[in-house]
């Protein structure tokens, strides 16, 4: 579903990403770990076509992203670290707008079902987003993935700054989506969440994907040791 082949991104002399290759299949959650500046966000931006690769290929569902920027976004939902919505519109209105932009038209009841499924309390749904916490906004993002019937999720540190309960809820939502066959690529600093939620883990360092493993191969302590070994 998501595929990077020898993906390289250079800015003048600096190499942000160097020959990164990985695949995320439907139902898998691929967690990218690494220090700030390791190239996690660059990878996600390449999948969104916000930037174009210097060399290598970036594919969604077998389709090249730079060549088909609109088509590859059809079944994709992106949730950035700080999901901002329109503060003067309610959760329902925001969801209606963003889902509408990807060509989906839903009744108010259906939109409410998606928001409820994403864990947003009913009474909050028609309130203006300016009153929402970060966790609530992230839930609108998940509801958008549900509304779009997304096959691909791109998450850029979605749980940073969330309290443990909200973070846990978010992870549960991801697990539920992956059971529906969604391919998820998530950049994160949270080793614990990565081990708990992810199916695969990649460790990045200075633009290079230095380690790839499945989470059932390793326990939490060993993952931390491995991570620190690469960072030092």
């Amino acid at each position: 579903m998501l595929e990077a082949r020898q993906l390289t991104k250079k800015y003048n002399d600096a190499t942000a990403l160097n020959a990164v290759s990985f695949t995320v299949n439907p139902g898998e959650i691929f967690c990218l770990l690494g220090a700030n500046g390791a190239g996690k966000t660059t990878t996600i931006n390449l999948f969104l076509n916000f930037i174009q690769p210097t060399s290598g290929e970036v594919l969604i569902n077998g389709v090249s992203v730079p060549a088909n920027p609109v088509e590859t976004k059809k079944h994709l939902t992106y949730i950035p670290e700080n999901l901002t919505l329109y503060p003067n519109l309610s959760g329902i209105e925001n969801l209606d707008y963003f889902a509408g932009l990807s060509g989906k038209k839903y009744s108010k009841e259906n939109l409410q079902i998606f928001l409820t499924e994403a864990g947003l309390q009913t009474e909050a749904q028609s309130k203006r987003v300016s009153t929402y916490s970060k966790g609530m906004r992230q839930k609108v993002g998940i509801a958008l993935a549900l509304a779009k019937d997304a096959k691909v999720l791109l998450l850029d540190e979605p749980t940073s700054g969330l309290d443990p309960k909200a973070s846990n809820e978010f992870s549960e939502l991801l697990t539920r989506l992956s059971k529906k066959g969604v391919a998820t690529l998530m950049a994160t600093h949270d080793l614990f969440r990565a081990k708990e939620t992810g199916t695969h883990i990649g460790i990045m360092k200075q633009g290079v994907l230095v380690e790839q493993l499945t989470t059932d191969q390793i326990n939490h302590t060993d993952l931390e040791k491995l991570y620190l070994k690469h960072m030092n």
Partner: protein, 471 residues
């Protein structure tokens, strides 16, 4: 998709305090300035009508007198105030409303720039046009300066583009979301104005077509400002910076450029001062015929020629009143002198107009303002047209008086009296303004300039937006 974006923009706009407050203020100002102008207009028209009747009564009721004395007694031509002057008062305030018509003298110099006006007076003063050409562009800037920059700052632009929305679609939606509220604000005022103006009875040639064109001109102007606002908002990354940049655009286009243009026009083609103008006319008069001075060389020559033509020795033997004939010859000569000098003045005016037309390319404000004044018949061209008509009427009136004296009295017979039959035979001064077709033809370049502004700003917006980057 575009409509969906536009609707969401509108929804956000209406929920925001700044739009509600600004819209209410601008709407109130527009309605108030319109109603105030309407009142002033009604008042002026009442006075105008009374004065016109009064002048006519004085003319026809002046009693028995020598026709040439009647020509000296004179009458007045009143410039009609047209219904659309309510929308744009133009230079009316500076150009005067009446012209005194008498023998020997074209006396409208006091209404001319040759007096003491600066070229700035071309830009009128506070009426609905102030709100329409100055404040509404400011409102567009106030509502739209962060239309694009806010999406970028808050990160919603990334989210939007991740949905596969094309930037150009987004901007098209935002364009409608900014332009439609402005239309909604201005339209009711124009509709109200149309109803009120259609009901105006005095001088009431109200042309719905011209009024509609005026409305369209303003809409084009607002479209240009909508383009500029979105362009700057898309180019400048920070909202605060976009706001400052757009305010500068407004100051330059609406305040600075008109004054710079006036200065350039005045520098290149300065009007003569009132005294220079009068001195030149006096000089020409002195060296030419003078109807009241038979010893003047030129009139002596004319006398000799006329006596030879009729084969008589003395002017008293001529079959017509020589005094009247000589005065009419002098009158015609004076009229030619006035014609020459006013044409020189007009040439300066036309040269200046050419400068304005060229420099109109520098700011969308200029072609809009010129078109607005032209359609409302309150520009200098309208005033010139009236002044020329009044002068033609004056020449006709004086000619008729002198002619009556020539035909019906003997040379030296200053006791000859004409009565109200003659006065009434002079038709009332009925001024017909130039047809709109002529007005539009004269303003082609302004239409073209405004359209070029629209197209170029659309193109610039298109190019800037298709290159937009989120990172």
């Amino acid at each position: 998709m575009i409509l969906k974006i536009a609707l969401k923009e509108l929804k956000e706009l209406f929920r925001e305090g700044r739009f509600r407050i600004a819209a209410v203020i601008v709407f109130a100002l527009l309605i108030t300035s319109f109603l105030v102008s309407k009142r002033y207009y009604d008042y002026v028209n009442e006075q105008h009508e009374a004065a016109r009747k009064n002048a006519r009564n004085e003319w026809t009721g002046q009693g028995e007198k020598n026709p040439h004395s009647a020509a000296h007694y004179g009458t007045y031509a009143f410039k009609p105030k047209y219904p659309l002057a309510l929308i744009d008062n133009g230079v009316d305030k500076y150009s005067g409303v009446s012209i005194f018509l008498e023998a020997h003298k074209r006396s409208d110099a006091q209404y001319m720039a040759a007096q003491d006006q600066t070229a700035l007076s071309r830009f009128g003063d506070l009426t609905p046009d102030f709100v329409l050409v100055f404040l509404i562009p400011l409102l567009i800037i106030l509502l739209g300066f962060n239309a694009m920059s806010r999406e970028r700052e808050s990160g919603t632009l990334r989210l939007l583009l991740s949905q596969g929305v094309k930037p150009i679609t987004l901007v098209a939606g935002k364009w409608l979301g900014l332009f439609l509220p402005i239309v909604l604000l201005v339209l009711p005022v124009f509709v109200l104005a149309a109803f009120l103006l259609a009901g105006v009875s005095n001088f009431g040639q109200f042309s719905m077509a011209a009024f509609t064109i005026l409305f369209v001109v303003y809409l084009l102007y607002y479209a240009v400002f909508t383009n500029l606002t979105l362009l700057v908002s898309a180019l400048v990354k920070k909202s605060s910076l976009a706001f400052v940049a757009l305010l500068s655009v407004w100051i330059i286009s609406c305040l600075a450029m008109p004054k710079v243009t006036s200065a350039i026009a005045e520098e290149l083609y300065p009007y003569p001062t009132q005294s220079e103008f009068e001195t030149q006319i006096a000089a020409d008069k002195k060296n030419g015929l003078d109807g009241h001075d038979p010893w003047n060389a030129a009139s002596k020559k004319l006398e000799a020629e006329t006596l030879a033509k009729y084969g008589v020795d003395n002017v008293s033997q001529l079959p017509f009143n020589w005094d009247g004939y000589l005065m009419q010859q002098g009158e015609e000569h004076d009229a030619e002198i006035y014609f020459k000098h006013y044409n020189l003045l007009k040439e300066t005016y036309e040269n200046q107009t050419r400068v304005y037309r060229t420099t109109a390319a520098l700011s969308p404000f200029l072609p809009t303002r010129f078109l607005s004044m032209a359609i409302c018949r309150t520009d200098y061209a309208a005033h010139w047209n009236f002044a020329d008509a009044a002068e033609r009427y004056r020449i006709m009136l004086v000619g008729k008086m002198n002619g009556d004296m020539v035909d019906n009295s003997k040379t030296g017979d200053w006791d000859y009296l004409a009565n109200e039959k003659l006065w009434e035979s002079v038709p009332d001064f009925e001024y017909q303004p130039p047809a709109y077709a002529a007005v539009f033809a004269a303003n082609q370049s302004n239409f073209a300039t405004l359209l070029v502004w629209l197209l170029v700003s659309f193109a610039a917006l298109y190019v800037a937006v298709s290159k937009i980057k989120v990172i």
